[in-house]
Amino acid sequence: MRKLLILIAALLIAGATAQDYVFGIVYDAGGKFDRSFNESTWTGVQRAQQDLQADGYEVEVIEFEGTPDTAAEGQRRIALEGAELLIAPGFLQADAITSVAQEFPRTSFVIIDAVSDGDNVRSVLFKEQEGSFLVGFVAGSLTRTGVVGFVGGMDVPLIRAFDLGYQEGVKAACADCTIISNYVGVTPDAWNDPARAKELASTQNAQNADIIFAAAGASGNGVIDFVNEKQCFVPSGATRATPIDAQLDNIAKPAGYDAKCGGNAKPIFFIGVDSNQNPLGDTDANAATLNFGLTSMLKRVDNAAYDSVMDVVNGEFTGGILNLGLAEGGVDYALDEYNSALIPADLVEKVNSVKQQIIDGEIVVTDYRQQ
């Protein structure tokens, strides 16, 4: 029996040393393919793994899909298996990382969207307000009613930061525009209540909002569904001319749109969040026709994960807090084949110059969390 154990141990060690690098990811909720945060982390690590393998390294990625309660256990297990780096997407793991990082001082840890203590811990935060400012600027430039909406998930400072950045962006493009902002709720239920988010979107639309930005987790699907289903409305009150009018003339409409939205009806749009949600506004599986996703506020969790892996490989990993904004490529707005027809070239130019001004510090976007 003892010999057998030694044999197994020897095999395990041999197995472990056969790898050049071992990386770990611990998911706390939502699972690996949540089409958001966790999946972004995985994509980044995956990309790093492929790049390293192309360079001839043996790389293993250990994953643990758990719950907020079991995350600490998963972190320990992966650290025990000799991972050089462990990435924990999600603020729910912050406390667990602080204690596990103490137990494994030679392992590097990355926590995303929260701050954990320890010299071997990198806490990655994002300047959500900067990305939100850009999509707000796009919304403010293109709204024809002068009214835009914001639907937040749970009312927490993080989402308020999206809200405030968006508001400032809208105002920068259109000083007399109105922003209606609503939150789904004040409990974690608010992330999973698309029905309520949909009602919020519908009421905002009744108040004349023609572009709605959803930063509400899975509840945001309710906003997207509202826009995709309704597609257009007849604004009450005066409208203004914006560059989108000329763009719309040149875009083919999905089947049935013209019958539904003749006369004075104007299309409505949503703005997505975290990952590129533009394709979700494609109602007829054809990117060339009118898309109801105007743009998306991107949070490049994948880049943060990729960079962490590469830093470990290059021996440049440092602990501490990383605050990723536009300058660091941490946040951005989405421009792809789905929405490029909606956003005129001179607006893209303007947005890019706004982006540069934020990077240069000429425009300072308020961070709700630091007020």
């Binding site: 939502g30 699972g31 690996k32 393919f33 949540d34 089409r35 999946e39 899909e65 009312d155 902002s181 609503n182 939150y183 709720g185 004040v186 239920d189 999973n192 209540d193 698309p194 029905a195 309520r196 949909k198 009602e199 919020l200 519908s202 009421t203 639309n205 009744a206 108040q207 899975a218 699907n221 309710g222 569904d225 009450s236 089947a255 007829d284 599986a285």
Partner: protein, 312 residues
């Protein structure tokens, strides 16, 4: 306030009321027969999942041929699946609490927990993630509201409100309803008259599953186009509160769910905490229910045999 917003609020209220009404009318059958059903929340989730997954699987082969196809029968099969799974899950509750005489609250709580866990497993198997199903294209049809332009509701909204008189008739004007109420009020007396208490209670609980399942289907394929984990958002519990607030009577339930639906709709407008903090509005259904139970706003008396196992 202009008419557009008023109209939006009114229709928002009716949509918010719909899932509550389904679940509360379902709870009425169960509780009138003497079985507490706090499993409504979980059954809504099972119904929502069954509807979305079935619809998605049925329409998938057609969408491969034409990505913009609408498969008219897919959502109806989804609806059927929601009712069947709702009845089955409620059947588990019935089996545990009627046949094995377990505590009805514990059994219901277990089902609510399963409503969080089991969909995650199913989604992981089908869609490689634990929280969201693939969106469907073929949803249940919308029907115009008396031809008023711009005002239309999902077919299930009409069904929910039409169910109120139906349930009233069944419970108060048919022999079945009389027996159902008898086993809930005084099972011994009903038994001595030759009514099978067990069978009536099974029927009551499973009917509640069918209706709560419909409520779930409304959330996933009526109002939305996919299942999202935990999308019930406490509606099962609010439906229970409405059942108590409505004094276990279909018309009372209608009034209570409309009131709670109105809270939700106006909260949207009050949102941002300008007039009232949203937390206050959100807790109003529960506060009102407590007041009713305490006897401040008219007395609400539960069926006498409720919560007690029946020993033959």
């Amino acid at each position: 306030m202009d008419t557009v917003i008023l109209l939006a609020l009114a229709s928002s209220m009716l949509r918010a009321t719909t899932p509550l009404l389904f679940a509360a009318l379902g709870g009425l059958f169960s509780e009138r027969s003497g079985v507490v059903n706090i499993a409504l929340e979980g059954i809504i989730l099972f119904g929502a999942m069954a509807a979305a997954v079935t619809t998605q699987l049925v329409e998938a082969p057609y969408l491969r041929a034409d990505p913009t196809a609408r498969v008219w029968f897919a959502p109806w099969l989804g609806l059927l699946a929601a009712m069947v799974l709702g009845a089955l899950v409620a059947g588990v509750h019935a089996l545990v609490s009627i046949r094995y005489k377990a505590d009805q609250i514990i059994s219901g709580t277990a089902i609510n927990l399963m409503g969080l866990g089991i969909p995650a497993v199913v989604l992981a198997g089908l869609y490689h993630n634990t929280s969201i199903s693939d969106p469907i294209r073929s949803r249940l049809p919308e029907i115009s509201f008396f031809g008023i332009p711009g005002l239309s509701f999902n077919v299930l909204v009409y069904v929910a409100f039409l169910l109120v008189p139906v349930v009233w008739f069944v419970v108060f004007r048919t022999p079945f309803g009389l027996r159902l109420r008898a086993v809930g009020e005084h099972p011994e007396a009903a038994d001595s008259l030759g009514i099978s208490v067990t069978r009536m209670r099974y029927t009551g609980v499973m009917l509640s599953g069918v209706l709560a399942g419909l409520g779930g289907a409304y959330l996933s394929i009526g109002n939305l186009n996919q299942f999202i984990s935990e999308m019930s958002g406490g509606r099962g519990f609010i439906a229970l509160a409405a059942l108590i607030f409505g004094k276990w009577h279909p018309l009372g339930v209608l009034g209570a769910t409309l009131l709670f639906g109105a809270f939700q709709a106006t909260e949207v407008l009050l949102g941002g905490g300008k007039l009232l903090p949203p937390t206050v509005v959100q807790s109003l259904p529960y506060i009102l229910t407590m007041l009713v139970l305490a006897g401040f706003v008219g007395r609400s008396v539960a069926p006498k045999g409720i919560g007690k196992a029946w020993n033959e």
